[in-house]
Symmetry: C2
Subunit: 407 residues, 2 copies
């Protein structure tokens, strides 16, 4: 077995394929437009000043440097020439025998022009931008003489009640109500209003109703205002409208939707409703045995007939499967093994579901911590993150409260 | 003793004044345009991917939160109304009984338009930008098919042979020749060319000739090309001209000049050649007992008749002195006690001078490490930086090799 494998995207799916093909007889090239693999499940902690960007990101070429058959190229893909078997990257191109598309998802605002006024959380730059907004709102509140305007600046609205929204809301509540309290003289950070808005009838809709209730209870315990069945009708700078209701805020964060990257357009195939490429039971593009699509950009159906969610375990299992296919180790169709779901709400609170086992509170939080440290790539990052967490746990302080002035 | 003290700038000088006035009977306000105190002596390590921004920066309000008489305001000063005793910050103003100006220095290109093509190192954003340029040059070299163009991309030119230039050159040589070597397949990082250019006749001109020689020897040992008595005539994107000689480079870094921030203009007084405000023996603005100027923005003469250098020990001693003046603890003129100078060249190499004692090599490097850790503000930062250094020392790896794609 040999040939040239090109992998586009160094997220969980793409990196898993590459590692499994490491030191094989294939010549592997992995392309990504940034130089690092990002551990997205902890991105909300960068956005809330707990971790530094470098704590959750590692250079792709360093992770793969031990595999001499793998080349890493920092290139942005602009299209695929299926007949010519080439990936197009602006003026450059990479020819392939086998292509793996793993370009993931991107922010989606359902066609609304809200990206500037309600940033969302997909990249390190996004996380830095959100961190800056949250910290700047508090600095401006400290300077504000009008108390009602001050209360507005200390209002944080998170739109979307999925895991990212829940984790952001909990982390912002802890940051404002606990971490910074003694540092301000005028701004009443301990009275900051944190609102999470969900259009559906409960938080964490992919979890059980029991876990949803627990998440809501834990958030409310942290002082978060949970608004379900609430639909955002408009957002402008510092203002969220829910029909007639107007919420003025110091920062608005969007966690309500993602959409697949435009791989369907590159491949010239139809996308599903979420922009994903529909694949067959072997994760191939229909009729194209040499093209695989994996991770958040692929529409894969689970054994229950529902589409698999856009989470790291799905991406990694798909990646491992495709690598085995390429290596000729399996002819079976792909089957996802659900090992469970986790979402954290704050210090010592989380929900975990593994089959019929449902955990909550401290034990769920410990599970969450262990799982995330285990999957965090790189020995060094694991140690640094554990230290940051231990320090934050005991002191309730955070290490990365930085705002740079506009240049 | 009481009254309102306003301190402008939270660098080494301003922060020292504030701390010493903490829990006194004075009402103190410290203004800074960013929210953090930056430990500038280690900024070159952020620029060369060793440390994260948060490792060398702490929120000013957190450092001072224990002093209930101190207010921290994130505001950018735009002028001073001396007669009205007010500091102007855009639309806002802060009235004072005593004013301490500690706004430091900024980059200076001697009137040349080189800021975009040869970034310099003053802020965290500067450090991130330089890091991005260095790492991106290596990524582009990996993609480059033409070997002479590849060698150009792997050429790094540092302009200025003072401590910042020497430290940058050593750190870039270690990054390219040691840290990243195994990670590239095409780019010959181990053969990267690092050039340091100094117009004067030796590196580290404020040190002894012996230390200059040692610094040059240590840099050359790391593979750095040291060019003294070399004058840059022009810089454009990726090209440095020294008269007829042309050096094509992947990144050019400016470490050749700083100039005081424009406090002289705010105060309506003449500046010295480096843009600094001339002060009297008590660090007062001439004829203004209620206005002090300290740190890099002040022109203070040492006992040898030469101007004091723009380094942290000078700023801190001036800050301490001014706080004592405000507290009525001294009527003596300011006197600087020179405790020595330090510059590091790389792993296990540095030069240190303390009076007639001159150290070099490993012992100087250990001294440098201990001193910098000691002065690094915040228990947490000390621990994190020590860990990063220990990890880097033993593995020769670095933790912060991140490039974000342009957005």
């Amino acid at each position: 077995m040999s040939g040239k494998v090109v992998i586009v995207g160094a997220g969980f799916a793409g990196l898993t394929v590459a590692k499994k093909l490491g030191n094989s007889s294939f010549e592997v090239t992995i392309l990504d437009r940034s130089n690092h693999h990002l551990f997205q499940p902890l991105l909300y902690q960068v956005a809330t000043a707990m971790l530094s960007p470098a704590d959750i990101a590692v250079p792709v070429r360093h992770v793969l440097s031990q595999y001499m058959n793998i080349n890493v190229k920092m290139l942005e893909v602009t299209g695929v020439d299926i007949l010519g078997k080439r990936v197009l990257c602006g003026g450059e191109s990479e020819s392939f025998d086998t292509l793996v598309i793993a370009t993931g998802a991107q922010n989606f605002y359902f066609g609304n022009p809200w990206e500037k006024v309600a940033p969302s959380l997909k990249t390190l730059d996004d996380a830095r931008a959100i961190r800056k907004r949250i910290l700047t709102a508090m600095e401006r509140a400290e300077l504000e003489k009008n108390s009602s305007r001050r209360a507005e600046l200390l209002t944080f609205v998170i739109i979307g009640g999925g895991p990212t929204g829940v984790e952001m809301a909990g982390a912002i509540a802890e940051l404002t109500h606990q971490t910074v309290v003694g540092d301000f003289r005028v701004a009443e950070a301990e009275r900051a209003r944190v609102v999470i808005i969900e259009a559906g009838d409960r938080l964490l809709s992919t979890f059980s109703e029991e876990s949803s209730r627990e998440a809501q209870r834990a958030l409310e315990h942290l002082g978060v205002e949970v608004r379900v069945k609430a639909r955002v009708s408009d957002i402008s700078e510092g203002v969220v409208r829910l029909g007639d209701e107007v919420i003025a805020a110091g920062a608005v964060i969007w966690a309500a939707g993602v959409r697949a990257t435009p791989a369907a357009a590159w491949l010239g195939v139809p996308a599903d409703r979420a922009g994903r490429v529909v694949v067959d039971a072997h994760l191939n593009l229909a009729g194209q045995k040499s093209i695989y699509v994996v991770g958040d950009v692929a529409a894969v159906t689970g054994s229950d007939g529902k589409p698999l969610p856009g989470v790291a375990p799905v991406a990694m299992q798909e990646g491992r499967y495709v690598a085995r296919r390429i290596l000729g180790e399996t002819t079976e169709p792909f089957r996802y093994r659900d090992k469970g779901s986790l979402a954290t709400i704050g210090r010592r609170a989380a929900v975990a579901e593994m089959g019929s086992l449902k955990l909550r509170g401290f034990i769920a939080w410990v599970t969450w911590t262990v799982v995330h440290i285990y999957y965090l790539i790189g020995f060094r990052n694991r140690v640094v993150v554990l230290m940051e967490w231990a320090w934050a746990y005991f002191t309730r302080q955070r290490g990365a409260r930085l705002i740079s002035p506009e240049t």
